[in-house]
């Protein structure tokens, strides 16, 4: 068996090593920042297709977006009803609230909200916050206004912190029953859940080292108590009450009409009333790739 493994390793070594670092030669390694870098495209296609999202360094300035129309590298429509719409510029949002500045680790971060504005790429509003020597975009909470000072702290004390809206604390530091948003599944990975306009989750209970949160879909999940979360509801609460009004407005949003073909709906359609699935637990440590 050991001979077989060694021969496998040697075969791997002998056949073309070329791990040219970084740029944009085809690499199958997925980066954690954008999940799309796992594609291996041809050299000329690489220059243009996804270059706008290859930027490593964080910037506050909006980046021009290349629309795909629901098509992938083969050119076919993979996701239907996408295409057209107003031009958009992407503002890089920092979902990892607890990101320390160089040289100021382990101190609570205080930031001032400079501006709350509309983001074309998502339903929620975004806020430009400035603290120390850096500025960044974050998802704004419901009553956030320009001039507010928000705190981010990674400490879990024995007593629960008085939760102010817009502040960010680990789940273990918040009192049970607070409305939270921008939930991290793994500590340090960045917020992945509860980011849409008007959504909020509820911290249900805290069980030795983990916390159980109810998501807006009423599903319950169990995460480590060191996962960072923001207090309050996400901004733009009236988003689900808006009336599109006309087909043209949907086209401005980049939504193409559905196919007009009438199809008999099967067992998959219609309202289903069934019990909640069992609680999903995320407390196993993720792989090294997910942690970066």
């Amino acid at each position: 068996m050991s001979v077989g493994l060694l021969s496998c390793a040697l075969r791997a070594l002998s056949l073309g090593s070329s791990q040219i670092a970084g740029f944009p030669v085809a690499s199958g390694v997925c980066a954690a920042v954008t999940g799309s870098r796992g594609f291996m495209t041809s050299a000329c296609d690489l220059q243009n297709r996804s270059l706008w999202k290859q930027r490593d360094k964080y910037t506050v300035r909006p980046i021009g977006v290349k629309k795909t129309g629901g098509r992938d590298y083969t050119g076919r429509i993979i996701t239907q009803r996408i295409g057209g719409g107003h031009k958009q510029r992407y503002r890089m949002i920092d979902f990892q609230r607890l990101r320390y500045e160089a040289g100021k680790e382990q101190q609570p971060i205080e930031e001032k909200v400079m501006e709350v504005r509309y983001d074309p790429c998502r339903s929620a509003d975004i806020a430009l916050v400035a603290g120390g020597s850096r500025k960044r975009w974050i998802i704004a909470t419901e009553h956030m206004e320009a001039g507010d000072v928000i705190r981010t702290s990674g400490a879990i004390g024995r007593m629960a912190v008085l939760a102010r809206e817009g502040d960010s604390h680990p789940l273990g530091a918040l009192p049970v029953g607070t409305l939270v948003n921008n939930l991290e599944l793994f500590p340090g990975k960045g917020a992945q859940y509860i980011r849409a306009a008007g959504t909020c989750g509820v911290l249900l209970r805290k069980v030795n080292g983990t916390a159980i949160v109810q998501l807006p879909s009423k599903h319950q999940i169990q995460v480590l108590e060191t996962c960072m979360v923001t207090v309050g509801r996400v901004s733009n609460v009236e988003h689900n009450k808006r009336v599109i009004g006309k087909a043209g407005r949907n086209r401005w949003l980049g939504i193409r009409p559905s196919s007009g073909l009438w199809q008999r709906k099967g067992g998959w359609a219609g309202r289903k009333i069934r019990p909640l699935p069992p609680m999903k637990s995320f407390i196993n440590l993720p792989s090294a790739a997910a942690r970066s």
Binding site: G16, M40, Q80, E110
Partner: protein, 434 residues
């Protein structure tokens, strides 16, 4: 076995055929080859004979095992199928070719220093505006135009004949008469307006010969370095037009006012650090350069003219005032260090530098008095800044009148002319020579 091979060949044939055409299932289940020019169409079936795209296989990842050297075909000098690709050291030319020059890493550059430096250059757009500029230059703000200079312009002996009419002509010539289009671009009418106004002011040399001892420099580069707390700050770059004179400007504030600034506290803006938006670099040179040689016949900076013409970057009036304050401070500091040396100290003869900034219509006036070069601590004597904000010279200069619902809202030509703004401009010009 044969059936398998046949099926495999059928698959390969159909996938290659896919590149030119698509197979479409008709109702009779006959596959019909249709030649479509673009070669694709939406398919709802997912059969592998009919256009399923297999996901691309990721390339084989070759791991390096420590202690094991891969056997390469470097000795054989040609590709050999079983051996690894050799890794050669990067080739160096040996001499510097400018077309193919790769700069060294930041850490290897000769001017690299461990301590970072925060540089305010001509493209900086500070977040906190004038408050940040005041903290960086250790100054105290006084709102409003200094009265001594304003009285200069009120004096009828100092005014130009037909002043208002000639100023209005200057505005019209830069805004309306310069081009046949409706409005000239800002990059064009802003400098031409400033040129016109300076030309008018220069016409007073007949009655005031002291005004002749001045010169306007267009593209000069400023460099000034100072330390504040534990950080090093610099002001660098080409910023605008500088009017130099042979004689220095007289001091505006008396000693009592200067000493009273020592009691006033500098305004901080927690949680934002004062170094925000400044260019942070480890490769820098601590340079103090006024932009002119030492034997220049006009050694004293008189007025700095800044133009905000829009795009790189677009500065709001608050940020424009901050840029003015920083560059006047830089000019004053560079000249103080040229005259009195680099030792930080309180100046016996404070240095005064003026500044005018415009975007073609709105004017901002700043007068900076440098009292001390001891900027390390936050306490002690501070510098003084007089800021006069947002003075419009005129409201509208339109070629076609703005008519809404058959009522003229804004007439054609120049409208809303404010004579006071030019008086202040003239006063700043005359200061020091009258």
């Amino acid at each position: 076995m044969l059936v398998k091979m046949f099926k495999a060949t059928v698959q390969r044939v159909s996938t290659s055929a896919l590149k030119i055409s698509q197979n479409r299932k008709s109702e009779n289940f006959h596959s019909v080859l249709i030649m479509i020019p673009h070669g694709r169409c939406c398919l709802s079936t997912s059969s592998c004979l009919y256009g399923k795209i297999l996901p691309r296989k990721k390339p084989r990842v070759v791991h390096e095992i420590a202690g094991l050297e891969p056997i390469t075909y470097a000795d054989r000098m040609h590709f050999v199928p079983g051996l690894a690709k050799p890794k050669f050291p990067p080739w160096e030319r040996g001499w510097k070719e400018p077309n193919h020059y790769q700069s060294p890493k930041l850490e290897d550059m000769p001017l690299y220093k461990d301590k970072p430096c925060y540089i305010f250059n001509q493209r900086t757009n500070v977040l906190e505006g004038v408050r940040q500029a005041l903290w960086l230059s250790k100054s105290v703000l006084i709102k409003g135009f200094p009265d001594q200079i304003l009285t200069l312009a009120e004096d009828p002996a100092n005014q130009i004949e037909n002043q208002d009419e000639r100023v209005q002509n200057a505005i019209k010539s830069s805004r309306l008469w310069d081009t046949t289009e409706h409005r000239p671009p800002r990059e064009r009418f802003c400098p031409s307006l400033l040129n016109g106004l300076l030309h008018l002011c220069g016409g007073l040399q007949v009655t005031h010969p002291e005004l002749a001892k001045r010169i306007l420099a267009e593209k000069y580069s400023l460099a000034a370095t100072w330390r504040r707390g534990e950080d090093v700050f610099q002001v660098r770059g080409q910023n605008g037009w500088l009017l130099n004179s042979m004689t220095p400007l007289p001091v505006l504030a008396g000693q009592e006012q200067i000493q009273s600034t020592a009691d006033q506290a500098l305004e901080t803006f927690y949680p934002i650090a004062p170094t925000i938006d400044l260019q942070n670099t480890h490769v820098y040179q601590e340079k103090n350069d006024t932009g002119f040689r030492e034997d220049y016949p006009y050694p004293h900076a008189h007025t700095l003219f800044l133009m905000e013409m829009g795009n790189a970057p677009k500065l709001l009036p608050e940020q424009l005032r901050a840029k003015m304050v920083m560059f006047t401070f830089g000019n004053a500091l560079a000249r103080a260090q040229a005259l009195y040396g680099k030792e930080p100290s309180v100046l016996e003869k404070p240095i005064v530098v003026q500044s005018v900034a415009t975007n073609g219509r709105l004017f901002q006036f700043v007068v900076f008095q440098l009292n001390t070069t001891d900027l390390q601590s936050d306490s002690g004597v501070k510098n003084l800044v007089w800021v006069d904000e947002d003075q419009p010279l005129y409201e509208f200069a339109k070629v076609k009148p703005l008519i809404k619902k058959k009522v003229v809202q804004v007439p054609a030509g120049l409208s809303g002319y404010q004579p006071d703004t030019f008086k202040k401009f003239l006063a700043l010009y005359l200061h020091g020579a009258v």
